[in-house]
């Protein structure tokens, strides 16, 4: 094999650099694709860099504490046949020629806003391909739920669109009854506005129920359905989490609530908490969340069900669930129709798309490819 670069990944639209927190593999370690190599801290969240290829970690270029721009060199992989001089030359040339992505370029069309039924709906689009993939976030989230996934999924032939649901992120804070039909209608309306007739629908938590609702209402529009930690499969849900999330006003109140989302609470950084708080503080957000919560999850139970809808559907279904999900229990996967591909991921909580991003991206990539995307 030749030399493979281990670069600073780009997790999300706004990431420009990351700090190396720790190396998780020694120089000389034999790595497989997906092995954890290094821990990186960004302004938003901590994550693990996984090996992009099989091979030996020949050189750890970045030192712990170094701040490396996106695309910059963390380390070098190669097999034993590559000489040390070649590695030296590769590193020297890379460092001499590497130009970090300019800030102005990134400030470009990170997110856009469309008007759907008179309401502004914000969305981010990555890729210009003909096959549409739509990523729908869950309750209290926004399009940055997919910050580790959207770029990774945006292959040449795809365009990956992540909207903010009404009441969330940069979209209108006005919601009517906040029910599944209204939320699904807004995503469908966005697809109409963008001229997208058919898409691979991917949803997380409440967003998964939204995606399933779109597929049920208009089966022709769904090329496939991917449900990540989906709501709508059983009555049980962590009511304390919902209540805590809606009511939290301060960093101190919100942090333990957000930690419930993850298997490893340490990934919830101060900046992540601050970012969620900044959204929650905006006029109308609290009310919108309360309306949606009381419509979909009254008194800490799920009042929505996608079970019958899914059973009647004739589209490929992939379900990804964290084994340690403390918001919606993974045992609810038992309610899925027999044909669905179900992947339960150890070491992940309610946010596998963040906590096990690489594995989720791989599963989702394979699934999309198998179904024509």
């Amino acid at each position: 094999m030749s030399i493979t670069k281990l670069g600073m990944p780009k997790w999300g639209l706004n990431m420009r650099e990351g700090a190396l927190v720790a190396w998780l593999a020694e120089e000389g370690a034999e790595l497989e694709v997906g092995d954890e190599v290094a821990e990186v801290e960004t302004e938003k969240i901590n994550g693990v860099v996984e090996s992009p290829a099989a091979g030996t970690l020949r050189r750890r270029v970045a030192a712990v504490g170094d701040v490396v721009p996106v695309g910059g060199l963390l380390g070098v992989l190669a097999d034993a046949s590559v000489g040390d001089e070649e590695i030296d030359a590769y590193v020297a040339e890379f460092q001499a020629t590497f130009v970090p992505e300019a800030e102005e370029d990134e400030a470009g069309p990170a997110a856009e806003t469309a008007t759907v039924d008179g309401r502004p709906i914000r969305y981010a689009r990555r890729g210009e391909g003909a096959v549409a993939v739509v990523l729908v976030h869950g309750f209290g989230g926004d399009l940055t739920t997919w910050l580790f996934n959207q770029d990774a999924l945006a292959a040449e032939e795809r365009s990956v669109i992540a909207p903010d649901l009404p009441g969330h992120g940069g979209s209108s804070k006005e919601v009517a009854d906040g029910g599944l039909d209204e939320l699904a209608g807004s995503v469908q309306g966005l697809l109409d506005t963008l001229g997208i007739e058919r898409a691979h629908l991917v949803g997380h938590s409440l967003g998964a129920a939204v995606a399933a609702t779109i597929a049920t209402r208009s089966p022709d529009r769904a090329a496939s359905l991917t449900l990540v930690a989906p709501a709508g499969l059983g009555p049980e849900i962590n009511g304390e989490f919902l209540e805590g999330f809606v009511e939290a006003e301060s960093r101190r109140e919100l942090k333990p609530v957000l930690e419930t989302l993850f298997s490893d609470p340490a990934v919830v950084t101060r900046e992540f908490v601050e970012e969620v708080l900044r959204t929650k503080r905006i006029d109308g957000v609290g009310e919108a969340l309360r309306t949606i919560s009381s419509s979909c999850f009254p008194e800490g139970r799920q009042a929505i069900s996608i079970r019958d809808g899914l059973a009647a559907l004739d589209v490929p279904i992939l379900v990804i669930w964290g084994a340690e999900d403390r918001v919606v229990p993974a045992a609810q996967a038992d309610a899925l129709p027999a044909g669905a591909q179900v992947e339960i991921m150890a070491g992940a909580g309610h946010m596998p798309q963040m906590e096990a991003a690489h594995e989720v991206n791989r599963l989702l990539g394979d699934f999309l490819e198998a179904h024509g995307a």
Binding site: G170, K173, E249, S250, R251, R252, R278, R281, I282, D283
Partner: protein, 339 residues
């Protein structure tokens, strides 16, 4: 959606946004319509600093140029707030506040208490403070410690554009009198601010930076200087927690104590004079509540106990600098090492 605007624009957006939302919000102050030197043209400047620009155009009936009598218009604002309006009074420089202490200390602060909770005083007094613009002794003081001392007043000292907007909206919606301190040197500071209205709760400090070696507590303009110092210190391996108090009354003691539990070392940075100050208050609270966590004496970086000098050279030396802050942090680490 956030975009970059200045501290001054953030204040202006909060005022206009709340006036659109709530018809009981009115603005009083000297020159808030025409502005000094405006030559009679209405809304030419939008106040002495430009914070009220655009209000007269949109709400000519709800903004009032006051005569140069602080005691009169602050008194009128107190009365208006007690009888159903939500006035935002602008008192150009906090240094002039002395002439209306009775209106603020004896009336605004006490009405709710003296009427058994039956009176409300939803008043905001916006004012500017701080040295650094060559405005000399009578236009450069901090004075927030005096207001923090008075029960019944809430005291807000925002350090950046995002906080300025969210805290001012919160102040206007508050049912108690709020003294809102804007550092005039920060007016040009830019930052990400959402277009929408939003509120930041009172009594929640902001943690600007994480570190386990030393806790730096700061407020107002001192926050960015402290952060700057912490950045230099990090290069030498000294990691600081930087805490922005945001409000001095109510005071978020818990965030300070949680940090001291980890670091054991405290440096308070305060642009005000040192005696009976926020710096002294925070040191005293930490000494009383975290004594067993402390690895060394709490330290303060403040202005000296003198009026603000007119000489530019002396004025620059008067205000705490990143170098002085870094020096105090290094001393605290060194002292701890030899203790």
């Amino acid at each position: 959606m956030p975009r970059k605007i200045t501290y001054l624009q953030a204040v202006n957006e909060a005022l206009l946004g709340e006036m659109r939302r709530d018809p009981s919000v009115v603005v009083f102050g000297e020159d808030v319509v025409g502005g000094a030197g405006a030559g009679g043209e209405m809304d030419a400047w939008g106040g002495p600093m430009g914070a009220t620009k655009g209000i007269y155009d949109e709400f000519p009936e709800r903004i009032l140029d006051a005569p140069i009598s602080e005691s009169a218009f602050i008194g009128a604002a107190v009365g208006a707030s007690a009888s159903g309006l939500r006035p935002v009074a602008e008192l150009m420089f906090v240094d002039f506040m002395g002439v209306c202490f009775d209106q603020i200390f004896n009336q605004a602060a006490k009405l709710r208490y003296m009427f058994g909770g039956k009176a409300r005083v939803p008043l905001v007094i916006r004012t500017t403070f701080g040295a650094g613009i060559r405005a000399a002794a009578q236009h450069s003081e901090c004075l927030y410690p005096i207001f923090t001392h008075i029960p019944g007043l809430k005291v807000v000292v925002p350090s950046n554009p995002y906080d300025a907007k969210g805290l001012l909206v919160r102040a206007i919606r508050d049912d108690d009198p709020v003294i809102f301190f804007e550092n005039k040197v920060l007016y040009g500071m830019e930052g990400d601010v959402p277009e929408e209205l939003y509120t930041i709760p009172f009594g929640e400090a902001n943690v600007v930076r994480d570190g386990d070696d030393v806790t730096i507590v700061a407020l107002g303009r001192m926050v960015s200087l402290a952060d700057h110092a912490a950045e230099q210190l990090a290069e030498d391996g000294i990691e600081c927690d930087v805490i922005d108090l945001r409000t001095t009354s109510p005071l978020d003691e818990e965030t300070i104590y949680e940090s001291i539990e980890r670091t054991g070392r405290l440096v308070v940075v305060d642009e005000a004079n040192p005696r009976c100050s926020i710096a002294a208050d925070v040191c005293s609270l930490v000494a009383q509540n975290c004594f067993s966590d402390l690895k060394g004496p709490p330290r303060t970086v403040t202005a000296p106990h003198t009026p603000v000098p007119f000489s530019p050279v002396l004025e620059d030396a008067y205000v705490p600098s990143p170098e002085r802050i870094a020096g105090a942090v290094r001393e605290s680490v060194g002292a701890a090492a030899t203790a």
